[in-house]
Symmetry: C2
Subunit: 363 residues, 2 copies
């Protein structure tokens, strides 16, 4: 791949939807889920062959930087961009684009997430290659995921006209970005077959996205310019510390994508993408045994139990499950979660209760 | 109460039906279930006022003696009768009767269990008083529990004719003892209203029960006589060690009660008796919260959860239950059990699997 192409991994998220395995000091991207590599390590692994480590940037928050660097030591230290505190994906993308432009004005960047599953890596790499090709025509490119069910947990992208076809991959203009829908709206979009899930992965020339920031988010743009001036100089940390807290938190979707011109989408079917947004979603990405169970613990005793996830994290306790169906059992050192699969989304209510009652040591 | 009346508590049971809380080194009678007193301590507590501690005997196995003595230090050491190994309830009852006869030939004894719940203690004490009165007429008396549902986990006693009525308590002759029934048979017995559950509690004059041993279990009787001769002499432990292993394990029900003459039953309704034979049975004896849950843990987070038992034993872990119904969650140091209530009886299958696979450290 050409030397102007850079991968930017957004790895600053907290995330409580996989609580109690994910914790304040161990966010989702640092978890091992049925693997001896963390989601962040796997996100880096799947770039192999396409991006040399010096062309991978990681944007994260200060508290996570040391652990991430330890997990993937091959990426140069100066490629870890630290936010003093989270200020939304617009600031993450803007900071990466600003730094890249300073280092390489011809840069093309792909924005990736650190905490998603992607099972079909060859197809993933093919999509990134094609998207870069499309981006050279001054397009902002996004990867869409062809829906397999009427999900209400994702944003959607409505396709416009077909623009071209590259190596069998269709490229469409984007008609509209849509927020997470109601169940009825999701059902209709699935039936209409003209929408894709918004994966949150974007590809563009750095110069193009910075033009969008200038037009659509002028306040953030001006802050980023100041930061850009100081970047890689002795003033960097002082300027970042002064300006970052003034940034208003905003998503790139709302801030740019929903209003930008010249946006293209590459609909991907069979990518095996999953945002692992709840315990239930693991049933889509991890291998099931003949009873539909996922057993990420040892030792255990399983009797008349089906479609149940059992995960022990370093407790080495015996887990015995008898006569249970459709449960999630997460066994950690100081917290035990037993949750109905279909209620996985309510984990955040438990987290909220703990916050409200000051039991933060469990978070 | 008169000074010839003695309580004999059978406290040698192992029992795996409350696994993983009950363990090889902590049998059911040593458990605290929703109380700061163990079942054994409570079994002693409920005798207060009726039996002074020196008229309480405890029959147990060697391994449990020290812990039981520690739990109830008021009972004299010589009243702890030790079986070198379990040999069934016939040998337990026979040993206690033999020792009592040697110490007090006029003794009346009540045989009690150490690991059952009895909620109505005043009624319990009244029954024991009346039963002793009946036993003076050379009757073998048993306490029957008026069935509240067609249980298949208990033996049954079919009532014969009414013999008398003492202080409002009916006394019946016993027509027949019956083993644990099928569901259909249990249903019929419940409808016929002429059967009681066999509680395993018996009251008789020691001289009367020893006559039955002589007639119905002559082999055991002869062994018990030899042991009786040596009891409270320097030869005691040597003789017990030599003879006890030769005893064939037998229950008092099968060995004596099913074949004895002059058997009476006191049917008890409203005694609040429960043998705590499974996790599910705790829902009959412990207080439920407004969602039908029993929470014997702290701290916890409970969301949309009903009819579920949560018990943590010394782990001090947070237990979060979300969207679950009719479960039993038992959280111990080295084992976690998650079991459907209606499958509580399958806990013994889990125990068997662990035995079969040599994982005895969890038993």
């Amino acid at each position: 791949m050409d030397n102007n192409y850079y991968a930017v991994i957004m790895a600053g998220g907290g995330g409580t939807r996989l609580w109690p395995l994910s914790r304040a000091d161990r966010p989702k991207q640092m978890l091992n889920l049925g693997s001896d590599r963390s989601l962040f390590q796997i996100a880096c692994d799947r770039l192999a062959g396409l991006f040399s480590p010096d062309r991978i940037l990681v944007v994260t928050v200060t508290e996570q930087a040391a652990e991430l660097q330890k997990q993937v030591p091959g990426i140069p230290a100066e490629n870890y961009l630290l936010e003093p505190m989270p200020r939304g994906t617009a600031s993450v993308v803007g900071l990466a684009a600003t730094v890249l432009q300073k280092r390489d004005p011809q840069a093309i960047m792909v924005v990736l997430t650190a905490d998603h599953f992607i099972q079909n890596v060859p197809y993933f790499q093919k999509l990134l290659r094609i998207a870069a090709e499309v981006s050279r025509k001054n397009m902002l490119v996004t990867l869409g995921i062809t829906p397999t069910h009427p999900a209400t947990a994702y944003g959607y992208i409505q396709r416009g006209v077909i623009l071209e076809n590259i190596e069998g991959q269709a490229v469409y203009s984007v008609q509209r970005f849509k927020e997470k829908p109601t169940a009825a709206a999701a059902q209709k979009m699935l039936a209409d077959e003209d929408h894709d899930w918004n994966s949150g992965m974007f590809i563009w020339q750095v110069s193009d996205i910075l033009v969008e920031f200038e037009h659509l988010m002028p306040e953030l743009d001006s802050t980023l310019r100041e930061i850009g001036q100081a970047w890689d100089t002795p003033e960097q940390s002082k300027v970042v510390a002064a300006l970052w807290p003034t940034i208003k938190a905003q998503t790139i979707d709302y801030g740019i994508m929903e209003r930008a011109q010249r946006v293209a989408v590459l609909p991907a079917a069979g990518l095996g993408w999953n945002d692992v947004g709840s315990w239930d979603s693991l049933f889509e990405v991890l291998p099931l045994d003949s009873s539909g169970n996922i057993q990420l613990n040892d030792p255990n005793v399983i009797i008349d139990t089906h479609n149940t996830l059992i995960l022990s994290d370093g407790t080495h306790r015996l887990v015995a499950a008898i006569g249970v169906d459709d449960l999630v059992i997460i066994d950690t050192e100081d917290v035990l979660l037993v949750c109905r699969r279909s209620d996985s989304q309510k984990v955040k209510e438990a987290v909220q209760q703990l916050k409200d009652t000051g039991q933060t040591r469990y978070l």
